[in-house]
C-alpha cells in the first residue's frame, strides 16, 4: 500500500467520530429514499400482478333485477372483452361469541366457475354448486372469528334465518379492503364477504334467471367512459344504480388512495431528507478538509502534484460518502422489508412481487457521492492554490471589522465572551447559515411529521365528536315512512332516534359526472349533523345542495352553479339544483339537502332509510340481540367500533411512518450539530485554550462553544416553524386523494414539540463535544497552532 493511501486510512481512523456522523446523516437521507421507493414500487407491482393474475374487472355495475341474458348483451358492447353477472346482497350475520350482529356481502359464484374477480382459495374449497348451505368466507373475516372449514354460523338472508356451513377461506382482488356499508375503514370483525353457489343465492333471494351485479373486463385501449355509458343505458330499465370504473370500486379506491399517499410520502419527503443531508455533508466535509491545510502544504512541499493531492482527499471524501450510501442502502432495504411486511399484512396480498427500487439506489448513490466529492473538492482546491510555504503556516488570523451590526451590538454592552459568539456568527455568515439551515430543516420536517397527528385528531374530532354523535346507525333494508324513527324508540336501550334518507345518485356538471349519494337531513338533528372541518354546523338548505370540497372539485363546480342529480334509486328522476355552499370536509363525499326539499322534489311522503340512535351503553347487548332478529335492518354501524378502526388503521400505517421519520430527523439534527460543534472546536481550540489559560472556567469557555450553536439553534427554530408550515401545506396537497383529504391544521403543541426535540438533540450533541474541551491539554494547545 502506498504511504499516501495508508495516510488516508489513518486519517479516517483519526476523524472516525466525525466521519461516522457525516456518513450517518447521509445514510439517513439515502435510507429514507431507498425504503420509501422500494416499498412503493413493491406494492404497486404486487397490486398490478394480483389484479392481472386474478382478472380484476374494469367496470362494475349494480341493478335491482336484470334478466340473465343482459350479460350476453353487455358482452357485445364495443370494448368489452369479458362480462359476468352475479347476484349480490347484504345480510345480517349472527356469529357465535359476538354480541353485536355482523354484516356480510353475499356473492354468487357462476355455475360454470368465475371468469372475473377470481377468488383465491387459501384454505378448504369453494362451496359445492348443489349444496345450498355451503359458503366460502373472506379470509380476514373467517380468521378473525376462527371460522374454519366445517364451522357453522347463522345469517338473515332475505328475511329468513339460515344455517350456513363454511367450506373454505378466500381472498379476492375485489376485496383487498372490506368495508362495512356506511363505514369509513375496513373492519374484519364486523364485515365479511361470503361466496355461495349461484343456485343457492338465486333461491335465497328469489332471483332465478336474474342478476343484479355485472362486472366487465375491457379490451386494451377501450374507451371506459363509452362502455360505462352503454352499460348504464342497458341497465336503466332494470334499476341500474350506475356503472363505474375501478376508481369508484370501494376496495380499489381505498387501496389506490393508500398507495398514492404512500407514493406521495415516498416522492415528497425522502428527497427533502436526502437533499438536506447531502447539502450538510457537502459543507461539513469541506470544513473538515479545510483543517488539513498544513498537510496539503506539506505534501506539495514534498513534491506531490495537485492531481495526486486532490485524488487523496477525494478518496477520503468518497470513502466517507461510500460508507454513508452503503449504510443507507443496507438500512433502507431492511426498512423496506419491514414496511412491505406491514403493508402486505394490512392489504393481505397473497404474494409479494419485490421491487428493489433500483432507480432509488442509483439516485441516492449519485447524489450522496456527488455531495461529498463536491464538498471535498471545494476545500482541497482552496488549499491547493496556496504556495506550499504559506499553506504550511497557520492561517492568518481572520479579519474582523466593525460593520453596522457590530455597532448595534456594541450598544448592548455584552460580556466579551458573548461578543465572541456574535462576532463569529457575523464573520462567517455562510457557515452560520449552514447550521441554521440544517437545524431549521430538522424543525420543519418534524413540524410536518407531527402535523399529521394534529390533522388526524382534527379529522377524528370533526367526524366522531361533532358530526356523528350517535352511538349506532341502523341501515334499513328498505326505505320506510318517518314513523320508523319513533318505532326505533321501542328497541332496547334506545334513548333518542333520528331518521335520515340517503339515496345513490349520479351528480353531473357539464361533461363531468360522479357517482355519489344525496343525503336528506331532517331539521333539528342532534346526533348526526353536517359539520365542516372547522367544526361549524352547517344547516342543509331547502333551495339547493351543499357539496363537500372534494366532490365540488371533481365536478368542477362552484357555489351558485347548477348541479344535475340523477337519482339511482326509486323514483328514478333527475333534479337540477343550485349549489348553495361548498364546505371543507376531509372525509366528505356526499351531497346534502334538507329532507323537506328532497321529498318535495321526489313528490313523495317523508321517508327514512337510516336511523341514528343514542343508546344506553349498558343495553347495547340487548339492542344487538334484537337487531339480529329484525329483518327490516340491513346493517348496523357501531360508532365506537368505527372510531377504534379509524385509530387502529392510522396507527398501523401512518403513525409508524411518522415515527420512523421523526427518529431519522432527530438523527440528522444530531449529526448536523455534532459536526458543527466538532469543527468549531478544532478551528477554535487555540482560542478556547487561551481562554482557559486566562483563568476562564470550563463552564465559561464551554459557553462560547455551546452558546454559538445554541444561539443559532434558537434562531433556527422560528425559521423551522415557517418551513414546517409550508412543508405541511405541501403534504396536504400531496396526500389528498379523491376520497380523503387531510385538514390543514397545526397545533401549538406540534410547533413546541418539534422545537423541543431539536433543541434537546442539539444541546445533547453540543454538550457531547463540550466534554472534549475538558480533555484539551492547555500547554500543548498553546504551542501547536493547528
Amino acid at each position: 500500500m502506498r504511504a499516501l493511501d495508508r495516510k488516508m486510512l489513518r486519517d479516517l481512523r483519526r476523524i472516525w467520530a466525525q466521519a461516522l456522523a457525516i456518513a450517518l446523516v447521509l445514510g439517513c437521507g439515502v435510507m429514507v429514499l431507498v425504503a420509501a421507493q422500494a416499498t412503493q414500487a413493491t406494492l404497486v407491482a404486487t397490486q398490478a400482478a394480483y389484479y392481472e393474475r386474478h382478472r380484476f374487472a374494469d367496470v362494475f355495475a349494480g341493478a335491482t333485477r336484470a334478466p340473465e341474458n343482459i350479460v350476453q348483451a353487455a358482452r357485445l358492447i364495443p370494448g368489452v372483452a369479458q362480462a359476468e353477472g352475479r347476484i349480490s346482497f347484504q345480510a345480517i350475520l349472527d356469529i357465535e361469541g359476538m354480541a353485536e350482529p355482523a354484516t356480510g356481502r353475499i356473492l354468487s359464484l357462476p355455475a360454470a366457475g368465475p371468469g372475473l374477480n377470481l377468488p383465491m382459495v387459501r384454505l378448504g374449497r369453494l362451496p359445492d354448486p348443489d349444496r345450498a348451505d355451503e359458503v366460502a368466507l373472506s379470509e380476514p373475516f373467517a380468521e378473525t372469528h376462527g371460522l374454519t372449514p366445517g364451522s357453522r354460523f347463522r345469517g338473515i338472508l332475505n328475511g329468513q334465518l339460515r344455517d350456513l356451513t363454511v367450506t373454505g377461506w378466500v381472498l379476492s382482488p375485489e376485496f383487498i379492503y372490506t368495508m362495512p356499508p356506511g363505514a369509513m375503514m375496513p373492519d374484519d370483525r364486523r364485515h365479511g364477504v361470503i361466496w355461495m353457489s349461484e343456485a343457492a343465492a338465486a333461491a335465497a333471494m328469489d332471483m332465478n334467471g336474474a342478476v343484479n351485479d355485472i362486472a366487465l373486463r375491457l379490451t386494451r385501449g377501450a374507451d371506459e367512459r363509452a362502455v360505462i355509458a352503454a352499460l348504464d343505458r342497458l341497465l336503466d330499465p332494470y334499476g341500474g344504480t350506475g356503472a363505474h370504473g375501478r376508481d369508484r370500486q370501494v376496495s380499489h379506491a381505498f387501496l389506490d388512495g393508500e398507495l398514492s399517499q404512500l407514493g406521495a410520502m415516498a416522492t415528497y419527503l425522502p428527497p427533502i431528507f436526502l437533499i438536506v443531508a447531502a447539502f450538510l455533508v457537502n459543507m461539513v466535509l469541506g470544513r473538515l478538509i479545510a483543517l488539513e491545510r498544513a498537510q496539503i502544504g506539506l505534501m506539495k512541499a514534498l513534491g506531490y502534484g495537485r492531481g495526486e493531492i486532490a485524488r487523496h482527499y477525494l478518496l477520503l471524501a468518497g470513502l466517507i460518502g461510500g460508507i454513508g450510501v452503503g449504510l443507507g442502502w443496507l438500512f433502507g432495504w431492511w426498512m423496506a422489508g419491514a414496511m412491505i411486511g406491514l403493508y402486505g399484512d394490512f392489504f393481505r396480498f397473497p404474494f409479494i412481487i419485490r421491487d428493489w427500487g433500483t432507480q432509488a439506489l442509483a439516485i441516492s448513490a449519485v447524489l450522496g457521492l456527488a455531495s461529498v466529492a463536491l464538498g471535498g473538492l471545494r476545500a482541497v482546491w482552496a488549499s491547493l492554490r496556496l504556495p506550499p510555504a504559506e499553506a504550511m503556516q497557520p492561517p492568518a488570523p481572520p479579519r474582523f471589522s466593525r460593520g453596522l451590526a457590530d455597532m448595534a451590538l456594541a450598544r448592548f454592552r455584552f460580556r466579551q465572551t458573548t461578543m465572541m459568539i456574535f462576532r463569529s456568527v457575523l464573520r462567517w455568515p455562510g457557515r452560520a447559515a449552514i447550521t441554521l439551515f440544517g437545524v431549521a430543516a430538522s424543525v420543519g420536517v418534524l413540524v410536518m411529521s407531527y402535523f399529521i397527528f394534529d390533522a388526524v385528531d382534527r379529522l377524528g374530532d370533526s367526524v366522531f365528536q361533532q358530526a356523528n354523535r350517535q352511538h349506532v346507525t341502523l341501515m334499513l333494508a328498505q326505505p320506510q315512512t318517518d314513523r320508523a324513527t319513533q318505532d326505533a324508540l321501542s328497541l332496547p336501550g334506545v334513548l333518542h332516534s333520528e331518521g335520515a334518507y340517503v339515496v345513490p345518485v349520479r351528480a353531473v356538471h357539464g361533461h363531468r359526472a360522479r357517482l355519489t349519494a344525496l343525503q336528506g337531513h331532517y331539521p333539528d338533528a342532534e346526533l348526526a349533523r353536517l359539520v365542516d372541518d372547522a367544526g361549524r354546523v352547517v344547516t342543509p338548505p331547502r333551495d339547493g345542495v351543499v357539496l363537500p370540497e372534494m366532490l365540488a372539485r371533481a365536478l368542477d363546480i362552484r357555489a351558485g352553479q347548477s348541479l344535475t342529480i340523477e337519482m339511482l334509486g326509486a323514483p328514478r328522476i333527475t333534479l337540477t339544483l343550485p349549489v348553495v355552499e361548498i364546505i371543507a370536509q376531509g372525509m366528505g363525499q356526499e351531497a346534502h339537502i334538507a329532507a323537506e326539499a328532497l321529498f318535495a322534489a321526489m313528490d313523495s311522503a317523508p321517508q327514512v332509510n337510516l336511523l341514528h340512535l343514542a343508546v344506553r351503553l349498558d343495553r347495547m347487548d340487548a339492542l344487538n340481540a334484537a337487531i339480529k332478529t329484525t329483518p327490516a335492518v340491513g346493517g348496523l354501524l357501531d360508532w365506537a367500533e368505527v372510531r377504534r378502526q379509524f385509530d387502529a388503521a392510522l396507527s398501523d400505517n401512518l403513525l409508524t411512518m411518522v415515527g420512523i421519520y421523526t427518529l431519522i430527523e432527530v438523527l440528522i439534527a444530531i449529526g448536523v450539530v455534532y459536526n458543527a460543534a466538532r469543527i468549531q472546536l478544532s478551528e477554535r481550540s487555540y482560542e478556547l485554550a487561551s481562554l482557559r489559560v486566562l483563568g476562564f472556567s470550563r463552564a465559561e469557555v464551554g459557553y462560547v462553544l455551546v452558546g454559538e450553536i445554541m444561539f443559532l439553534t434558537l434562531l433556527a427554530i422560528p425559521l423551522g416553524w415557517l418551513l414546517g408550515y409550508w412543508l405541511a401545506l405541501g403534504l396536504v396537497g400531496a396526500l389528498s386523494t379523491d376520497i380523503f383529504q387531510i385538514p390543514f391544521h397545526i397545533t401549538r403543541r406540534t410547533f413546541a414539540l418539534a422545537a423541543l426535540a431539536v433543541f434537546l438533540a442539539a444541546l445533547g450533541s453540543v454538550l457531547m463535544v463540550r466534554r472534549r474541551l475538558d480533555r484539551v491539554d492547555l500547554a500543548s494547545a498553546l504551542k501547536a497552532r493547528e
Binding site: 466579551q416 465572551t417 461578543m419 486566562l694 483563568g695 476562564f696 472556567s697 492547555l778 500547554a779 497552532r785
Partner: protein, 240 residues
C-alpha cells in the same frame, strides 16, 4: 533593590519532576527542580529546546501539574490542586504572555483586555493597560489589523490588566524581529518596575538575560546555573 531574603517568596518549587508518558516511552521533562521566586523579581529562564523551561513555567502558572515534588504559590500548594482551584489561581494571580500572542481574533484590542478585566477582582481599565504598553491609540483595532509587536503588547496589556502577582512570559519575543522585540521587552521591563510584578521570562536568546535581576539556566530538566545579574541593562541596550 533589596536583597532577596528581605522579601516574601511568591513561588517555591521543591524537587519538582515532570514525566510525560507516551505509550511505553517515558520522557523526563523535569528531573528535580528547586527554585524560589520573590516579589518584584524579574527572572530570565534560559535553556535549549527541550531543557524543561516551558514545562516549569506551565507548572508554576497552573497549566500543568508536577509528577513529583511540591509547588507553592505563597501559602497555597499548587501541586495536587484541583482543576477548579487552578482555574481560580490563574484567574486571580497569574498573567500569561505567549510567543504567538493568543489574542482572540474576534475581539478588538480593548475587548481582548476587557475579556480579563470582566472576571478579575481588582483590574485596571483596559484603557489604562493599553496606555501602559503605548497602544492607547490602537484600542479599537482587531488583532488582524495590528503588527506582530503590537499584538504582543496587547497580550502584555491583557496579562497585566488584572494586576497579577506574577507575569509568566513564554518566548514573548520569539516571533518578532529585534527592533519590535525590544519594544516588547521594554513594556515588560516597565511593568516590572512600575507595578513590582514578579516576572518570569523564558527565552533561548542569551542576549536578553542582561535585563533580568536573575538568570536561571536549565539543561536536561535540571537547573545548571542560578545567579544574580551584577549589572542590569535597559532593554534598549539589548539587540540580537
Amino acid at each position: 533593590m533589596q536583597s532577596n531574603s528581605d522579601r516574601l517568596p511568591v513561588f517555591k518549587a521543591e524537587a519538582v519532576t515532570r514525566v510525560y508518558r507516551s505509550g511505553t516511552v517515558e520522557v523526563w521533562a523535569l528531573r528535580g527542580v528547586d527554585l524560589s521566586l520573590v516579589e518584584g523579581e524579574m527572572v530570565v529562564l534560559l535553556g535549549a529546546s527541550g531543557s524543561g523551561k516551558s514545562t516549569l513555567v506551565n507548572i508554576l502558572g497552573g497549566l500543568d501539574l508536577p509528577s513529583g515534588g511540591r509547588v507553592f504559590f505563597r501559602d497555597q500548594e499548587l501541586s495536587g490542586a484541583s482543576d477548579r482551584q487552578l482555574t481560580a489561581f490563574r484567574r486571580d494571580h497569574v498573567g500569561f504572555v505567549f510567543q504567538f500572542y493568543n489574542l482572540v481574533p474576534s475581539l478588538t484590542a480593548r475587548e481582548n483586555i476587557a475579556l480579563v478585566t470582566e472576571i478579575a477582582q481588582d483590574p485596571m481599565t483596559p484603557e489604562e493597560a493599553l496606555d501602559r504598553v503605548g497602544l492607547a491609540n490602537r484600542m479599537d483595532h482587531f488583532p488582524a489589523e495590528l503588527s506582530g509587536g503590537e499584538q504582543q503588547r496587547v497580550a502584555i496589556a491583557r496579562a497585566i490588566a488584572k494586576r497579577p502577582d506574577v507575569l509568566l512570559c513564554d518566548e514573548p519575543t520569539g516571533a518578532l524581529d529585534s527592533k519590535t522585540g525590544v519594544q516588547v521587552l521594554d513594556a515588560l521591563h516597565q511593568v516590572n518596575r512600575d507595578l513590582g510584578t514578579a516576572t518570569v521570562l523564558i527565552t533561548h536568546n542569551a542576549s536578553i538575560q542582561r535585563i533580568a535581576h536573575r538568570v536561571v539556566v536549565l539543561a536536561d530538566g535540571r537547573i545548571v546555573r542560578d545567579e544574580v545579574n551584577p549589572t542590569r541593562v535597559q532593554p534598549g541596550e539589548v539587540s540580537w
